[in-house]
């Protein structure tokens, strides 16, 4: 299965959540690869604690160079050997493969051409056969990377492969409107996809949303609010729920909701069990939400919708 992660705006926690999904799916036994299509800012390496690929890799062998035809094959990093984080090396027993395809340091956005689409199709086809879950992390917004993936997934070679879309957005008015726009608006995913030959309804039904940095009013971090702030926050939240429902990104198409967590917020990093239970720097709710999300990504039921 190919899981395409995208967002309309930057700073939505798309990459950090995507990496955490990848890690958790791998820990649960699936073979997972993470493909960095965020050409402008390929930072997946940093999130995975791979110092040598923190801002993409040097040497012209990354995803960017491969798609541009400058490298025969993209570099793949076995993360179980490269992650510089206690508890993640070597591969924990029972875990599946976890591989990162990093971008190039100093790469950038580029227009899509026919050859590039071919290379993309071949790569994704191979990865879909080799891995249970292929996470493709796109640049934010209506990017070339988005064009490329929409173009590739409609090709006959990729048609049989299950492709699912995740749109990440923060829980604010602007982000909700932007996320709905990216999915359903002009030149959005559905619009662009349909123009490229995707079945409009099918494509729309394969999009799910993930809310990030969602304030949990019952959590301890909000214990210090004065009552008027709490009342305001509760009303605002209800208002956002209604807005999301109106924009058709309500709970029926919601895959997960990641609470506001200092660890995710200030140091975009993987959240391990030890962060939650031993170091206690991350909230248990965050760990639970990520677990749930990793489960639902692979599960069919949440994708069937109502």
């Amino acid at each position: 299965m190919i899981l395409i992660a995208t967002s309309d705006k930057g700073g939505t926690g798309r990459s950090v959540t995507g990496c955490n999904i990848a890690l958790r799916c791998a820990l649960q036994g699936s073979n997972v690869c993470y493909v960095d299509f965020d050409f402008g800012s390929p930072t997946a390496g940093a999130i995975f604690h791979v110092e040598s690929a923190a801002r993409g890799i040097l040497g012209g062998q990354g995803m960017h160079s491969f798609l541009a035809g400058e490298a025969a094959a993209p570099v793949e990093l076995d993360l179980w050997r490269h992650m510089d984080r206690a508890g993640l090396r070597p591969r924990p027993p029972g875990a599946g493969r976890l591989v990162l395809f990093p971008g190039d340091e100093g790469g950038g956005e580029f227009p899509v051409d026919e050859d590039m689409t071919d290379r993309c199709v071949r790569l994704l086809r191979r990865l879909a056969e080799e891995f249970d879950l292929v996470i493709v992390d796109l640049s934010a917004g209506r990017s070339y990377a988005l064009q490329l993936v929409l173009e590739a997934t409609v090709r006959p070679a990729l048609r049989p492969v299950l492709a699912r879309w995740l749109v990440f957005h923060r829980w604010t008015r602007q982000h909700i409107i932007a996320a709905a726009g990216l999915a359903y608006g002009d030149h959005g995913i559905v619009d662009t996809g349909a123009a490229k030959g995707h079945d409009r309804d099918h494509l729309r039904d394969s999009i799910r949303f993930v809310r990030t940095a969602v304030p949990d009013l019952d959590s301890e971090q909000f214990a210090g609010l004065v009552p008027t702030q709490a009342a305001w926050l509760q009303e605002t939240d209800a208002d956002l729920q209604r807005l999301a429902a109106r924009r058709r990104i309500g709970r029926s198409v919601l895959l997960g909701s990641i609470p506001l967590d200092p660890v995710l917020q200030w140091r975009e990093q993987l959240i391990l069990e030890s962060d939650v239970w031993t170091l206690r720097i991350a909230n248990p709710q965050t760990g639970a939400a990520l677990d749930e999300l990793a489960k639902d990504v692979m599960d069919d039921d949440p994708w069937e919708g109502l």
């Binding site: 729920q241 999301a244 309500g250 709970r251 029926s252 949440p302 069937e304 919708g305 109502l306």
Partner: protein
């Protein structure tokens, strides 16, 4: 008011699903073996609040509030909850539809033989009762409305198919229940000198009039109802009963389809059982029928357009009966006017010669709606309120019971109503006599108390009634089951009557559903804007005038020129605007805001004076 309807309803929801949803399926049943009424009650515990209170809606899963999702989490997440409900409702409607596609309203295990030890025949257990008809009207409407909104967001073909099937089943069940209600309405006429006539005359004769004068006045007072009944067509209870102008009469619902009730013509063929119920209105079933029928012409039913054309015709026919029945009973209840109402002469006597506090309560139940429609004044409401208070005392709801107190029987095991006619069976055979136990005294009392409280225009009357409802709730709360899988449901009467032995620990859906209705009525009252008090409004206006003036003086003095004072004054200006905006609807709150503004303005004034060395 001490009760918190939202929290109490959430607790009830959680207890209901925890008990009912086992091993991934909705499991009907409780204290009584599952039957068409009890299962409807069990489902209504969820569906009724969801259809009546905005905050409890489940049909727009995108907007379900968190505490609501959590209370129902046994069913699944917000997306799964409505799906599970669809399945549970469809299974219910399916189970109570015969092989020929006819909805079944059998009373089943709710019926008891009058003489202990006797066994009811299966034919008797399959009798349709008005309780089931009325519950089915409410449940079908709740279901149809729920589906109508929910289906907007549903795409899954399997789910859509299941919902289409459920819509069809619910609509058929609704039609059949309406036809049943049309065929169980009855008019009973009798000579003033007959035993029934004598009881009626004694009941309403609170002024000691000679019988002839009384009968004349009664005819006069009921002339409009009588004329209205002559117009009733479709189903049972028409003009033929009223041929003798000398006769007195009563109207309302019997316990089931009445003897010789004509069939009602329907668009689709519908098997209609032969009626055997006595052609005499029974107060309890009249109240039950009126409650169900009221849902048919509620605003929600109209707005969502839940009735098809045929059902709208039936609805109008039922509404006429609803109006006439209300008028009839409220005329009796308040007959004779000033001195003492028949209603105040507790206990009420029914024309079959029985008397009970419970009947008084039922008469109030019928007349509450009439009070509502006539916009009754606080004087009348206060009289009804006093009757309720007295019933609460006499029924040992707000007073401790003596050992062997006969009043406790109202609650456990309840009053046993005779289902006259149920012993007659096909082919002329006679079976055992049948009774229907009812034990909803406390909930009926609560519901009517809150309804009257919400009608009350004066603060003191409302306050008195709400305190009464708090006390009744305390009683009900004590009767919750506290242990076992049914914890949080009802009913354990020994909680309120310690000399009773703790009974069955399985839930009584009969009472649990009625407790739920109580909470819904209460929640709807809380949704209304608060009472307005004229004195407070005058006070708020006067305060606003003074505050406004002093505020303007401050501005004139140039206070707005000083940095920190400026922001504070702007703040006070906004508070003043706020007070003016709410002065009409919440004068008390406006007074509170204005007091705060005035006090703060005075701080400035005083500070200034002290700098000039002045004293006030």
């Amino acid at each position: 008011m001490r009760i918190q309807p939202r929290q109490s309803l959430l607790d009830l929801w959680q207890a209901t699903v925890d008990y009912s949803y086992r091993d991934g399926a909705w499991t009907p049943g409780g204290r009584a073996e599952a039957n068409s009424t009890s299962e409807a009650e069990q489902l209504l515990c969820l569906m009724y609040p969801a259809s009546q209170i905005e905050a409890f809606k489940l049909d727009r899963p995108d907007e379900t509030a968190r505490d609501i999702r959590e209370s129902l989490s046994t069913l699944g997440d917000a997306m799964e909850i409505p799906r599970r409900l669809v399945t549970a409702l469809r299974d219910y409607m399916d189970r109570y539809t015969s092989d020929t596609g006819t909805p079944v309203f059998s009373a089943g295990s709710y019926l008891e033989p009058r003489a202990p030890g006797e066994l009811l025949t299966s034919e008797q257990r399959n009798l349709d009762v008005v309780d089931s008809l009325s519950m089915s009207v409410t449940l079908s409407l709740a279901t149809l409305g729920f589906l109508k909104v929910f289906e907007r967001g549903v795409k899954r073909p399997t789910l859509r198919a299941e919902m289409a099937e459920l819509t069809e089943l619910a609509s058929r069940r609704l039609t059949a229940a309406m036809v049943g209600l049309l065929r169980s309405f009855t008019v009973h006429s009798f000579a003033p000198s007959s035993p029934a006539g004598q009881v009626l005359c004694e009941t309403v004769n609170q002024r000691g009039l000679p019988t002839e004068t009384l009968v004349g006045e009664l005819h006069e007072a009921l002339a409009r109802v009588r004329a209205g009944l002559a117009e009733v067509t479709l189903g049972s209870g028409g003009a033929e009963e009223l041929e003798n102008d000398e006769h007195l009469f009563e109207c309302g619902w019997s316990w089931g389809i009445v003897r010789d009730a004509p069939e009602v013509v329907t668009l689709q063929p519908l098997e209609q059982p032969v009626g055997i119920a006595i052609r005499r209105p029974l107060l309890y079933f009249t109240v039950v029928a009126l409650d169900g029928i009221a849902d048919l012409f509620s605003a929600r039913t109209r707005i969502l357009g839940l009735l098809n054309e045929e059902q709208q015709g039936f609805m109008r026919a039922l509404q006429i009966r609803w109006d006439l029945t209300q008028q009839y009973w409220s005329t009796l209840a308040g007959f004779g006017g000033e001195r003492r109402w028949p209603l105040e002469d507790i206990p009420w006597r029914t024309t079959d010669g029985r008397e009970s506090d419970y009947y008084s309560l039922l008469v109030i139940s019928v007349t509450v709606e009439a009070l509502l429609q006539n916009r009754a004044g606080d004087l009348d409401l206060a009289r009804v309120g006093r009757v309720l208070e007295e019933l609460a005392v006499r029924g040992r709801v707000t007073r401790r019971a003596l050992a062997d107190d006969p009043a406790v029987e109202l609650h456990a095991p309840g009053i046993r109503l005779n289902l006259y006619g149920a012993e007659d069976q096909l082919g002329g055979r006679t079976g055992p006599e049948v009774v229907w136990p009812v034990a909803d005294f406390a909930t009926a009392l609560f519901k009517r108390t809150v309804l009257i409280a919400s009608l009350a225009g004066g603060a003191s009357l409302r306050d008195r009634l709400l305190r009464l409802s708090d006390d009744i709730w305390d009683h009900l709360h004590q009767r919750r089951l506290t242990d076992g899988p049914a914890a949080g449901l009802w009913d354990d009467a020994s909680g309120a009557f310690p000399h009773l032995k703790p009974g069955d620990q399985a839930p009584s859906w009969y009472l649990t559903e009625r407790v739920m209705e109580c909470l819904v009525v209460l929640a709807r009252m809380v949704e209304q804007p608060p009472l307005r008090n004229d004195r407070l409004m005058v006070l708020a206006q006067d305060l606003a005038l003074e505050a406004d003036h002093i505020y303007s003086q401050e501005l004139l003095r140039g206070s707005a020129d000083a940095g920190q004072l400026r922001t504070r004054l702007a703040h006070l200006g906004r508070r003043l605007d706020r007070a003016r905006a709410i002065a009409d609807n919440k004068p008390g709150t406006a007074v509170a805001v204005l007091t705060e503004v005035l006090r703060e303005l005075d701080d400035f004034v005083q500070a200034r004076r002290s700098s000039r060395g002045l004293r006030e």
